[in-house]
């Protein structure tokens, strides 16, 4: 999405995660928050489970397919508000970026965080041979995976696909998410999914 139009949008942030529910399958949750971190919309999927055929045929691309194309895209479609950025804690969900007008950023935890060399707010490319980059590799069919684009944003470590990095949001991201503990909303989504599943049972 061009940065010009982002300036006109209200500050709405999207948080996407996928939970593996034992013996049930994958459940996706998508939470839209306002600038104060309060919930605006919440969407979750029914449990989705790949069958053996899908596992064989999709191979290493199964997770990106389910997380991004199936779960992420569906959740984006049913939401009403347009976020300025979407964050996920699941590397495989980065593939959902192709179905979103907003860039999708991976929030890295300590173990995942690559050693970004730039100053805060600056972007660095991550070597695809690095272990962190291997974790972020979303397209195993490619013989030479594209390097992820990493970003240090205040206390946060973020990564996105190169195509998303070109959307022009990056230079404003730090200011936009300054008020957020970006890892925290995923806990809310997981709690809400648990509650929904309990209700379903």
């Amino acid at each position: 999405m061009p940065s010009d139009s982002l300036a006109d949008l209200p500050l709405v942030f999207g948080f996407l995660t996928v939970v593996q529910q034992p013996s049930v399958g994958l459940v996706g949750g998508y939470l839209l928050l306002n600038a104060q971190g309060r919930p605006l919309e919440f969407h979750c999927t029914a449990a989705v489970r790949a069958n053996r055929t899908q596992e064989i045929l999709y191979g290493p691309t199964l997770e990106p397919y389910l997380y991004g194309e199936q779960i992420g895209r569906t959740l984006f479609q049913v939401s009403k508000l347009q976020p300025v950025a979407i964050f996920t804690d699941r590397p495989a969900a980065l593939s959902a970026a192709e179905h979103s007008a907003a860039p999708v950023w991976l929030v890295l935890n300590e173990a995942q965080a690559p050693e970004a060399e730039g100053s805060p707010g600056s972007a660095t490319s991550v070597d695809s041979t690095a272990s962190a980059a291997a974790m972020l590799r979303v397209d195993a069919a490619q013989t030479s995976p594209a390097p992820m684009h990493a970003l240090r944003c205040g206390e946060h470590r973020l990564a996105c696909r190169p195509a998303d990095a070109a959307r022009g949001m990056e230079d404003r991201l730090e200011a936009v998410v300054a008020g957020f503990d970006l890892a925290e909303p995923f806990e809310r989504i997981r709690a809400a999914i648990d509650e929904s599943q309990r209700g379903a049972r």
């Binding site: 600038a35 104060q36 309060r38 919440f42 989705v48 069958n51 899908q54 691309t61 008020g179 709690a191």
Partner: protein, 618 residues
């Protein structure tokens, strides 16, 4: 389930019998959650690099004689079913937050500007009574309390204890709740913070707090301390004034005592006057279900009902039923066994004791009890002050600090008791507190600077079997007094003078200290407090400092506070000095200036009145 239902369209050639493939797919069917998907054309290469085995789609009907023995496959979009929830309450905050016209003074929440990390998050949880999934999700999806407070820019004069955050998180989402913490754990602060959040998040716009009359000023002060931006309206005065006050729409928080509740029953039970939240402090006041107060409290139109009490059960389980008739009518019945009652009440009640939540040795909880003088005391005080100031003024250059000091002492005595009638607002409050703490088996020390005051207290508090310990008690009897206080469970109260009881005693078995009147020097007060609050204490110690409003006590306290605050502003993080009143400040208490020329000799060794008891108890 067919293969197409699994998100695939497939074709089998004649060389591969369809029945075999069908069986193969059936054994690998996905779970029922995978919904049916419409067939889609096969592309030459899907986006994950999987090339289909056939470039063109082969219709089932046209498969009779395929040219080649191939199997075609293509991914299809699954129709993933979703559940969606929207939260209108937060929508207004997408743009700039604008306060409601009904709550004009509540400042909008600015967009936060600093990244935050917390070592501990206090999550909100829905009450068991919340049935609808959407309502439960709304609570679960709210930010943790720490972020919610920060995002609303809600500052605190002191960092709340974690258990107090838990208490706020307990109250905030609940429509019916009882906070029953042991006395001294900060029920007031927790309730105020939860109310503040409700107002700031527009979950409530009109709150009524009802408390015993002696606590009204204390609540008002606590609101100013913990939520200074919230306007408070105290319901008081004659009937005309009260009727006008009740109907003020722009007062988000109204505070009333239990007496107007009865007098203004027709107004506050009017459905047109609906409150978003009604809080009953010392809610044991409504334990008698047939009483007028209880009946009216239950009749107040409201959305949420909270009860605050340190003694939810004073005499019998019926007490709890009475309070629950206000919180959740019909939820408890007097015929229930205590065990069943406890189970049913469980999710509505949060009770913590000091021993449970204050693990490290022992926190010292200090609270200021702001007292409004009784009418008799107020009149006596007014006359004494007017005459006293007039006399001081007439003295002219002959005025000495001794003259001022005498007036100060005279006024302080009136703050304790009206000399003509014996009326005492402090005693009313003290009695209420003693009832509560003695009911839970606790012991208390009460300090005064005058033996006479201690004597009066001994008579007026006789039902608590008080003991005395002051300069008038012979030395050889003092140990016996202390031993009796420690060992006799009936002896719950020890009346002490600052002089005799401030040093050298170990009274760790007392959990409460009351400073009935204040010493000139905080250091002496600290020493008195430390009789109970010391290593070996069985639990946290609660100190209650009585302070009568709009009196000399308040003025002295304010001077000391200002000096401490100034010191802390300049030397952040350093301990406050042992502040004492200077000579100029003593004169300033009555807006008098030090007369020119030499000052009359002070009875104390320095030019302060730090340790200058003219009428000491010792």
């Amino acid at each position: 389930m067919s293969a197409s239902q699994a998100g695939f369209s497939w074709q089998a050639t004649a060389a591969t019998p369809p029945t075999v493939w069908s069986r193969w797919f059936q054994t690998l069917e996905p779970e029922a959650e995978l919904p049916t998907a419409a067939a889609q054309p096969i592309s030459t290469r899907d986006r994950y690099g999987l090339r289909p085995l056939n470039e063109a789609r082969i219709d089932t009907a046209a498969e009779a004689s395929p040219p080649l023995g191939i199997t075609s496959w293509a991914p299809q979009s699954l129709r993933v079913t979703t559940s969606s929830y929207e939260f209108a309450g937060s929508a207004s905050a997408v743009q700039a937050v604008t306060p409601s016209a009904d709550v004009p003074e509540v400042a909008p929440a600015p967009t936060p500007s600093h990244p935050r990390k917390h070592s501990r998050y206090t999550r909100l949880k829905p009450a068991d009574e919340t049935i609808k999934l959407a309502d439960r999700l709304q609570v679960l999806l709210e930010p943790p309390l720490e972020l919610l407070l920060e995002n609303q820019s809600l500052d605190f004069p002191a960092r709340p204890f974690p258990f107090q955050m838990d208490g706020v998180a307990f109250l905030y989402p609940r429509h019916a709740a009882m906070l029953a913490d042991e006395m001294g754990l900060g029920k007031t602060m927790q309730a105020i913070t939860a109310i503040r959040l409700l107002l700031r998040t527009s979950a409530a716009r009109s709150v009524l707090l009802i408390c015993p009359k002696p606590l009204v000023s204390n609540w008002k002060r606590e609101f100013q301390n913990w939520a200074g931006e919230l306007p408070i309206l105290v319901i008081e005065g004659n009937q005309t004034r009260r009727r006008w006050q009740w109907r003020q729409p722009n007062a988000p928080i109204k505070i009333a005592n239990y007496e107007p509740l009865r007098r203004d029953a027709d107004i506050i039970t009017d459905p047109a006057l609906r409150f978003d939240l009604v809080v009953l402090d010392e809610s044991q006041r409504i334990k008698n279900r047939s009483g007028a107060t209880s009946t009216i409290a239950r009749s107040i139109p409201r959305e949420r009902s909270w009860a605050l009490t340190g003694t939810p059960v004073e005499n019998s389980a019926d007490d709890l039923v009475g309070i629950f008739d206000f919180l959740a009518p019909g939820h408890l019945h007097a015929s229930m066994t205590p065990q069943r009652m406890g189970r049913l009440a469980g999710d509505y009640v949060l009770r913590r004791t000091k021993a449970q939540v204050l693990i490290d040795l022992p926190p010292k909880l200090t609270r200021d009890a702001d007292i409004e003088l009784t009418a008799e005391q107020r009149e006596a005080y007014r006359l004494a002050e007017e005459k006293g100031v007039l006399r001081l003024t007439e003295l002219g250059d002959a005025l000495t600090i001794q003259h001022v000091f005498e007036l100060v002492l005279r006024l302080k005595q009136i703050c304790n008791f009206d000399p003509a009638t014996g009326a005492s607002a402090k005693l009313e409050r003290l009695t209420a507190d003693l009832e509560e703490l003695t009911a839970s088996g606790q012991k208390a020390l009460i300090f005064s600077q005058w033996v006479e005051t201690l004597g009066v207290l001994k008579k007026r508090l006789h039902r608590f079997h008080p003991l005395e310990f002051h300069g008038g008690v012979p030395s050889h009897k003092r140990d016996d007094v202390l031993n009796e206080f420690r060992d006799d469970p009936k002896r719950r109260v020890l009346l002490m003078s600052y002089g005799a009881g401030s040093v050298g005693l170990n009274l760790q078995f007392a959990s409460y200290v009351f400073l009935f009147d204040r010493w000139w020097n905080p250091a002496v007060e600290d020493q008195a407090i430390n009789r109970a609050h010391r290593i070996g204490a069985s639990g946290p110690v609660t100190i209650t400092r009585f302070l009568t409003l709009r009196t000399i006590e308040e003025r002295i306290d304010q001077v000391l506070r200002d000096k401490r605050e100034l010191f802390e502003q300049i030397f952040a993080g350093a301990a406050s000095p042992r502040t004492r009143l200077s000579q100029d400040e003593i004169f300033g208490l009555f807006r008098l200036k030090c007369p020119a020329g030499p000052i009359a000799p002070m009875p104390a060794p320095t030019s302060t009145m730090a340790d200058m008891p003219l009428l000491p108890a010792q």
